[in-house]
Structure formats: structure tokens, C-alpha cells
């Protein structure tokens, strides 16, 4: 857990020597007016993988999805699906199916006909269509609703129809555009689990676009973090969360408690970090190899890595004292906003079990080991 990987994360994940990746995106560029909505984005997705593109709205992630689906053409770069270039191939001839954010179910067709649509367009024999549609509906637990119209279904059921309508075609890739965004919180969490199990059960290759970091981390084998048209980091959810490559990734994937300062003298197992704030004493950190002594940097730590105690801790941990400013009880855990400086408010968390809660105004000590935080060199 506490080990700190300093090796840069490979953009294509573990090496794939012989097999052709299902999706191979090569330096695509897409301009919307003068702005590069997609700026030299490259990534690969392996068969059976759940790959998420995570980013704030306007990051260009939907453009990437639409380029893969064929609704938009890249200004430069190439899109390969199963080793074949898709440039100039219209959406109806690409082996991909898109699950739209609004589901885009055909309101005039029944659930059965919605799911059967793709098969009918490919002139699959009727007997086979009935069989495959039933299989797909069974997979999304919608058997018995074949004759309903989309308007007669709940939001969750509509989502399942949209999913079934895509996966019934057995596409090389299922593209998901904010698939759960329209669902309420509880349904959303249930569908995350279900979508993931359907994906594993059917062996689907999925590329999912979302702005919801928890969703991306829970469902994905790998995540790509996108911002301002560029991909900043690609890796497993744990890797991206624990070893963010820069401050943007760190902040976007979770809460980042930060101290500006500079990296200095080499100590026994790393460097010494000197916060710009004189009130905070220097402490040892594991800076990456890129950290050159003297350079300005920002140190960041996740809330769950901060330990909090009423007494000054013994031992070699770095310590910062502060006051509880706000207590946010969230059931399974409690979040504390701790004032650790005139204009610095940090977040710490405790699980609810077996501890007496702190109250606003309490003086506390926050402490951490050298490997708990991360240094970002500017």
C-alpha cells in the first residue's frame, strides 16, 4: 500500500506482444473551430477490457467516443478496430455500438423491436433474431417486458434496453457515453455493479466516457484521465489514484490536501520537503527521480492517508497541528475539515467504527509517513 512507484506509467498498460488490440487510437486530433477538442490522443484497449475515459465536461472525451463510433472524423491520426483502419467508414459499417447518454430508444418501437433493430438492419434471419433478442433481454433482466414501449419503462429499465440493444449485436466494442448519468444515486450504484458483471459475463470490450471518478474507478480495468483535449494519464484505477502524474489528475480523482514548497536535501530514504509556509517544519518525502533539489514543488496527500490524533504522536511521522472546523458525518465514514493554517483547510477521514468523534473546535494533530504523500514538481 504505502510503496511508492516512481516508474512512469506506460500509456498502453502491460505489454501486449502478439495480440492485436481491439481498439488502437493513434494520435487523433480533432478541432472544433480554432480549439483542439482532441489533441493527439493515443490509447489502446484490449479484448474484454473495461476502459474508461474520465474527465471534466469539455475535456474532449465525448469527441473521442464519437470519433470511434464514426460520427466525427479526426483531423489527423488513425482509429484502428481489430487492426483495421476505420477512417472514412460510416457508423453503420463499424463493428461498434454506442449506448447513448439519453439512451436514444426508438419511442415508436417496442422493447423487443428496439433490441432487434441492429439485427434486422443486418438482415439476420427472423428465428435467430428472436433467439438473440431473448438472450440479450435475459442478460439485462428484462424478460417479460418485450411488448412495452420505452415510455412505459422506468429510467433503469430504459438503460438496460439501451445496453441490450448494443450488446445483442456482439460488437467488437461497446461504447458507453455517461451510461449511468441519468439515473438517481441508488439505482446508479446498483447499475454500476450490474453493468460490470454483464460486461464480464458477456466478455464485452467497453470504452466508457464519464465525469464521475468513483464510477470510473469501480467499473474500469483501466482509466484514462482527459483534460483540455489531452490524455494526462492512463493506468489501473489504483495506479491513477495513488500515483497521479500531476496535480490535475490528483485533484480530479479525489481530494488532494496540498502544501506548496520546494524539494531539498537528500535524506536517508528520500528528500526533505520545505513548505513555503514557515510555520510548517520540513519533513521527509519520497520524491520521484524527476525531483531536483531546490525546485519548487507541491506536496499532496489523500485524506485517507492522513492520521488524526488528539495527542502529539510519538515516532518519526511528520506532524501538523490544527483545529477541527467542520464535521461531515456521512454514515460509514466521517469527514473532518481541519484548519491547518490561516488559509489552508484540509480534509481528513475516519471510519465510524470504535472511536470517539471529534467536535468542531477540537485541537488535533495530523500526521503522516514519508511515503503517504506525493510530490509534484512544477
Amino acid at each position: 500500500m504505502a510503496t511508492f512507484s516512481t516508474s512512469p506509467v506506460s500509456a498502453s498498460g502491460p505489454s501486449l506482444s502478439s495480440t492485436v488490440p481491439t481498439i488502437d487510437i493513434r494520435a487523433i486530433v480533432r478541432h472544433h473551430g480554432p480549439v483542439a477538442a482532441v489533441d493527439h490522443v493515443s490509447f489502446q484497449v484490449r479484448r474484454g477490457e473495461f476502459f474508461s475515459i474520465l474527465g471534466p465536461s469539455g475535456a474532449g472525451k465525448t469527441s473521442v467516443l464519437r470519433i470511434v463510433a464514426g460520427f466525427e472524423d479526426p483531423d489527423a491520426g488513425d482509429v484502428l478496430i481489430d487492426g483495421r483502419s476505420m477512417l472514412g467508414v460510416p457508423p453503420n459499417r463499424r463493428p461498434v455500438n454506442l449506448v447513448f447518454q439519453s439512451y436514444a430508444l426508438f419511442p415508436h418501437l417496442t422493447v423487443f423491436e428496439n433490441v432487434a433493430f441492429g439485427l434486422r438492419m443486418r438482415r439476420v434471419p427472423a428465428a435467430l433474431i428472436a433467439e438473440q433478442v431473448e438472450q440479450a433481454l435475459a442478460m439485462v433482466k428484462l424478460v417479460g417486458k418485450e411488448r412495452r414501449k420505452p415510455a412505459q419503462l422506468s429510467g433503469g429499465e430504459q438503460q438496460r434496453v439501451a445496453l441490450a440493444r448494443a450488446l445483442v449485436n456482439k460488437p467488437a466494442v461497446v461504447l458507453l457515453d455517461e451510461p449511468l448519468a441519468a439515473l438517481d444515486q441508488q439505482l446508479r450504484q446498483a447499475m454500476q455493479v450490474e453493468l460490470k458483471s454483464i460486461q464480464e459475463q458477456a466478455g464485452l470490450t467497453c470504452v466508457c466516457v464519464t465525469h464521475h471518478q468513483e464510477e470510473a474507478m469501480m467499473m474500469s480495468d483501466r482509466i484514462a484521465v482527459m483534460h483540455q483535449g489531452r490524455m494526462w494519464q492512463v493506468g489501473t484505477p489504483r495506479d491513477v489514484y495513488e500515483n497521479p502524474r500531476n496535480l490535475f489528475v490528483s485533484r480530479f480523482l479525489g481530494v488532494s490536501n496540498e502544501l506548496p514548497g520546494r524539494v531539498d536535501d537528500v535524506v536517508e530514504d528520500g528528500h526533505l520537503f520545505h513548505p513555503a509556509d514557515d510555520q510548517v517544519p520540513a519533513f521527509p518525502v519520497h520524491a520521484g527521480s524527476e525531483a531536483s533539489p531546490g525546485g519548487s514543488a507541491t506536496w499532496s496527500i489523500r485524506p485517507e492517508r492522513l492520521r488524526m490524533s488528539r495527542e502529539r504522536p510519538a515516532g518519526r511521522d511528520a506532524v501538523l497541528n490544527g483545529f477541527i472546523e467542520k464535521v461531515l458525518f456521512a454514515g460509514s465514514e466521517t469527514k473532518y475539515l481541519v484548519r491547518v493554517g490561516r488559509d489552508r483547510l484540509w480534509e481528513a477521514r475516519t471510519t465510524g467504527a470504535g472511536e470517539s468523534p471529534h467536535a468542531p473546535g477540537d485541537a488535533v494533530f495530523l500526521h503522516w509517513a514519508p511515503g503517504d504523500g506525493r510530490v509534484f514538481v512544477e
Binding site: 463510433a69 464514426g70 460520427f71 460510416p90 457508423p91 453503420n92 459499417r93 461498434v96 455500438n97 454506442l98 447513448f100 439519453s102 439512451y103 436514444a104 430508444l105 426508438f106 419511442p107 415508436h108 433493430f117 441492429g118 438492419m121 443486418r122 414501449k149 420505452p150 415510455a151 419503462l153 429510467g155 430504459q158 440493444r165 449485436n169
Partner: protein
């Protein structure tokens, strides 16, 4: 945007009719100036013509029996054919036009719709005269075709069935475009993308998704074109000449020239019956059982 409420069909919550009295003036107007004359015409259609063109109030089926004469049958058939052809051409021209307008940038749409309706700013009779000038022997159309070398002799354009259909299409195309525009504007573009993504060719996207989902607009447009077309009399009168008589001309002829009001009334009611039948047929065609007309 319409994409949000695809799934929701608001149930019509209507209980008491507290504001029904608001409809009274309109209903009164219709009763007085529409229903009463209609009943009068209906009554006249069962009377007979006096020697000097008056009305003899003796009940008879004779007017309707007279209409079975092949001559009237030909005029009826001709009218049906012209109106159907006009409706079909208006649809083929109007649908792509409405689609393009509805999918153009929002700030252009009012301008484009205004352009579609621009002809209405001028009197219909004047516009029909303009067509006479264009289509006549030494008119604009012939001169243009001659100049381009496409023909060597001026074509007989005016006073032909083609001239009538051209005039009707010209006159009623906006009636087709407006309801189609509304229907296409309400069609969520993402449904078109979904169909395209699900292997549908452009033709399949049009026939399986766009046309079924815009059917209310198509039915509305067709009815709005068909009804005035089949009853029109200015256009066939001015552009069609004697050979291209339509029901409207027959009615006018019976009322004003022959002064046979009972027969004219009977023809009027036959026309109404045809229109009614056509409307019912269109709706049937558009909504087989639980079609798109309900729910959206």
C-alpha cells in the same frame, strides 16, 4: 431540448370544465355562420331546379343520381388524381426542405420559415396570373428552354393538367412544409444517430425512424394540402382551361352559370364526403393500432 423528455408522456389531467364558457363565442359563431349554411346547402341538395333557376322544395334523390353520370365521374376522378398528385409532389419537395430548415442553426430557422411563407403576402389570384405569364406560349418558361437549346418549338404548357398540378403544388407547398417542420424539429437528432450506429443505411434511417416518428406532421401536411387542392377552382380555372375541370369548377359552374343550385349542392356534399373519407384513410394509414400518433 427535446432530448430530455423522450420518456415522459404527461397524462392529461382534466377534471371539471370551469373555463368551458370561454369557447361559447367561437361555438356560437361556427353554429351561426358555418352550421346553418351547411344545413341549408344539405337541404337544397335534395330539392330540384326550377325552370328559371330557382329552387323547388320537393324531396328528390335525382341530384345525387345525376352525379353517377360518367361526365361527373370523370371530373371527380380527375380532381382526386390532381389532388393526390399534388399532395405527393408537395411531400417529396416539402420533406427534405422541412428537414433542412429544422436542422439548420436555430437563428436561421425563423428566417427560412418566413421565406417559405413569403408568397402568402401576395394575393393568390395575382400569383396564379403570374404563373399564366410564365407558362404561356411566349412565356418565361418557354423562352428559357428555347434559349438553353433544350427545345426548338415552344411547348404547350398553359391549359394543361401539368399546369394545374404545378399551380397547386406552388400554392399549397407551404402548408406541407410547416407541419413537417414542426414534426422534424421535435424529432430528437440522437435517434437518427442511434439508428445509424445500429447499422441502418440512410434509407433505413429515413423509413424506419424519421418517417414513423414524424408521421403526425406528415398526416397533417398531407391533409392540409389535399383538402384545398381537391376543392380548388381558381388554379384549374386559370391554368387548366376547359380540359382540366375539377370539382370546384363544377360547383362554381352549377351555382353561377347553369344556376342549378340543387345539383351544385349535391356536388358540394359529395366533395365533403370524399374529403372526409380521405382524412379517415390518412389517419388509418398513419396509426395502425398503436402507432406514433398517440403518446408523443
Amino acid at each position: 431540448m427535446p432530448s430530455e423528455d423522450v420518456s415522459h408522456v404527461a397524462p392529461a389531467a382534466q377534471d371539471s370544465c370551469r373555463s368551458c364558457w370561454l369557447a361559447v363565442p367561437g361555438l356560437l359563431w361556427l353554429a351561426l355562420f358555418f352550421l346553418v349554411p351547411l344545413v341549408l346547402v344539405f337541404a337544397i341538395s335534395f330539392a330540384s331546379r326550377g325552370t328559371y333557376g330557382g329552387i323547388v322544395w320537393e324531396f328528390t334523390w335525382a341530384n345525387y343520381v345525376d352525379l353517377l353520370h360518367p361526365l361527373y365521374g370523370k371530373i371527380l376522378g380527375q380532381s382526386l388524381w390532381y389532388a393526390t398528385l399534388t399532395t405527393a409532389i408537395c411531400f417529396l419537395l416539402g420533406f427534405p426542405l422541412a428537414y433542412v430548415i429544422a436542422r439548420s442553426p436555430a437563428r436561421w430557422q425563423p428566417v427560412l420559415l418566413l421565406l417559405v411563407m413569403l408568397p402568402f403576402w401576395t394575393n393568390f389570384l395575382v400569383r396564379t396570373y403570374a404563373w399564366m405569364i410564365m407558362l404561356r406560349h411566349d412565356g418565361l418558361a418557354n423562352n428559357l428552354l428555347l434559349a438553353l437549346g433544350l427545345i426548338t418549338e415552344p411547348l404547350e404548357l398553359l391549359y394543361t393538367p401539368m399546369a394545374v398540378v404545378i399551380g397547386l403544388v406552388y400554392g399549397y407547398l407551404p402548408f406541407m412544409v410547416l407541419p413537417l417542420y414542426v414534426a422534424v424539429e421535435r424529432l430528437d437528432p440522437v435517434l437518427v444517430e442511434a439508428a445509424w450506429d445500429l447499422y441502418a443505411s440512410r434509407w433505413a434511417v429515413a423509413t424506419r425512424v424519421v418517417i414513423p416518428l414524424t408521421m403526425p406532421g406528415i398526416v397533417g401536411g398531407c391533409i392540409l394540402v389535399f383538402i384545398p387542392s381537391i376543392g380548388s377552382f381558381i388554379t384549374p380555372d386559370l391554368l387548366g382551361g376547359a380540359r382540366s375541370m375539377m370539382i370546384g369548377n363544377l360547383i362554381q359552374h352549377e351555382y353561377l352559370v347553369v344556376r342549378d343550385w340543387p345539383l351544385g349542392s349535391a356536388v358540394s356534399f359529395v366533395l365533403m364526403a370524399i374529403v372526409m373519407a380521405a382524412v379517415v384513410l390518412y389517419y388509418r394509414q398513419a396509426s395502425p393500432g398503436d402507432g406514433p400518433l398517440e403518446g408523443r
